[in-house]
Symmetry: C2
Subunit: 340 residues, 2 copies
Amino acid sequence: MAQRKARGVVTVADVAEHAGVSPGTVSKALNGRGQLKSETRQRVLASAEKLGFAPNLLARSLLSGRTYTVGVLTTDSVGRFTIPLLTGAEDALGAGQMSMLLCESRGDAIREQHYLRVLMARRVDGIIITGRSSNVRPSLGQDFPIPVVYALCQSDSMEDLSVLHDDEKGAEMAVNHLVETGRSRIAHVSGPPRHAATQNRSRGAATALAAAGLSLVLGEPLHGEWSEAWGREAAQRLMRSGERFNGVFCASDQIARGVADGLREGGVAVPEDVGIVGVDNWLPMAEASRPPLTTIDLNLAELGHIAATRLLSAIEGKDAASGIERVPAFLVKRRSTEIG
Amino acid sequence: MAQRKARGVVTVADVAEHAGVSPGTVSKALNGRGQLKSETRQRVLASAEKLGFAPNLLARSLLSGRTYTVGVLTTDSVGRFTIPLLTGAEDALGAGQMSMLLCESRGDAIREQHYLRVLMARRVDGIIITGRSSNVRPSLGQDFPIPVVYALCQSDSMEDLSVLHDDEKGAEMAVNHLVETGRSRIAHVSGPPRHAATQNRSRGAATALAAAGLSLVLGEPLHGEWSEAWGREAAQRLMRSGERFNGVFCASDQIARGVADGLREGGVAVPEDVGIVGVDNWLPMAEASRPPLTTIDLNLAELGHIAATRLLSAIEGKDAASGIERVPAFLVKRRSTEIG
DNA sequence: AATGTTTCTGAAACCGTTTGCGGGAAATCC
DNA sequence: GGATTTCCCGCAAACGGTTTCAGAAACATT
């Protein structure tokens, strides 16, 4: 193979030689620092251009102490929820010329420690911890040497900044929409009772119902898995219960789709007889459902964007925010709640 | 905020002072090089441990010319297909202590060029180009200064190495499975005719049918979108065609699920009357389908693993493979083809 | 005791870039 | 023409490790 040096990488020294100046002058010319005769600057620029010079970011980082890199550590594996988040984060970081180093700890604490060491050894400027966890996760600690932001998963310390989606307000919007489209007898089909998301969504639903002077059909949310099968079963239960209902707020699009299928097959028309709202705006579910689902979009790309922006602020030295920042959800209207 | 230098980063010099040796000796002790008295080595190790020394990878890279980093450039955005691929790649890279720098070009050529420059400036050791593209993508060129592997999307140059899933063999397996479970009148519901995946899957299906002495019901594949709605429509068409059929090979799980729904609602029993096989093993579809889908898993995690392994080989200087490497798919049996 | 051999350690160079400082050359002033 | 000032540019140190090489120290040999 080629020699290391022969690899065709152009250095400031090469540019300097070509332009007949010293390496220091090259640096100043390219970075617009120092006092250079404009003719010299032009000459250096021309040489750099001609040789295809690209400064070695490693060398620069070594000196400046900044790597313009952030680590993204996903606690569970990269999943459906992490994708829009990564995209949003990259938007914010890319604008600041920063790059993302991606690590999947897959829920393994050993692996997480390993990756943290790697990220520190690489001298990343900051870390985003993310991953869908049904509950609060342990903080890295206040003495962690670089800024850390938790996105989508909450740190157990309020000294940290956790950027989270807003389940509760989202649920309120969902129920309000059902009410606004004329549904007064609303049921709630949700996920496993121990999940934070389940609890928050139930709470939001309760708040909105109370505000409208309504109460939940069957009195309680129906709890089950995050699956279509559960949604179908819940639809059966609702129909068999004898209770009248004309709206269902489902804690996920999968559940909502199951409910829609269950109702249709039970002879109940959606949206004419019953309106349905889901959560996630997961397109393959929401759009493929019959009818397509009105749903709460948790705005995960925005969440990623905000998390990255906050991290950048902390890196810049602006005093770091802490506590919990909730990103507003929004409603996406589709046929499942259409009226008239 | 804290001073840059006061940031508590421990250097070899600190360890050296603490252990009463020179920096060079510290390096040798920690890396097991050179000839050191074992007592000295122990003393240095103890000091490093005590001070929490973590070597600065930047400094090491600057000298060694290797960054132990690979760039992962996704042409379209990170999507459903990219996730398992990233996981597989990380497995292979992590074992070699390498990290992934993630860039999304989102189908924008300008952005792609930008990211390539960034990756080069960061002196990554190699690049994986990935992303679902329905057809061949332009090569970065043979004079690109570092190794490149194309994963999941094919380069238009055979000088490059493209690691691809095996649509054709996968389709053969699907059809063979239908034949083995007793179906002899098999239809094929596929995607948009211009997609390479569509064509390859059709070709594989044709091969397997020919080998079994059978021919396609309706003579031609049915082409449509990659959606459930199209699957349902295709099911209608099949039922209305008057042709008898007892097996359907669908080019995706979404289509397959649509077909399953369409048939069930048309009074055709799956798997008793008709067996269905899909492609993707996309769990939310395959498992939520009624009945759950037998499907071809394209083995994308393995694809990512192989792509990363090949890239590592090229980086290590072993002569780089080129052309196309196909990763075998495998069949996942579920109820949609069950017999007896 | 002088020389040769082996074993260990430290000094210094190096990677590629940035930057403060000093100095030479040219321009300005008296 | 000499003293200042101004304007450019080069020198060298620094970042934090690794590696080479020379040489000191310890030991063996004659």
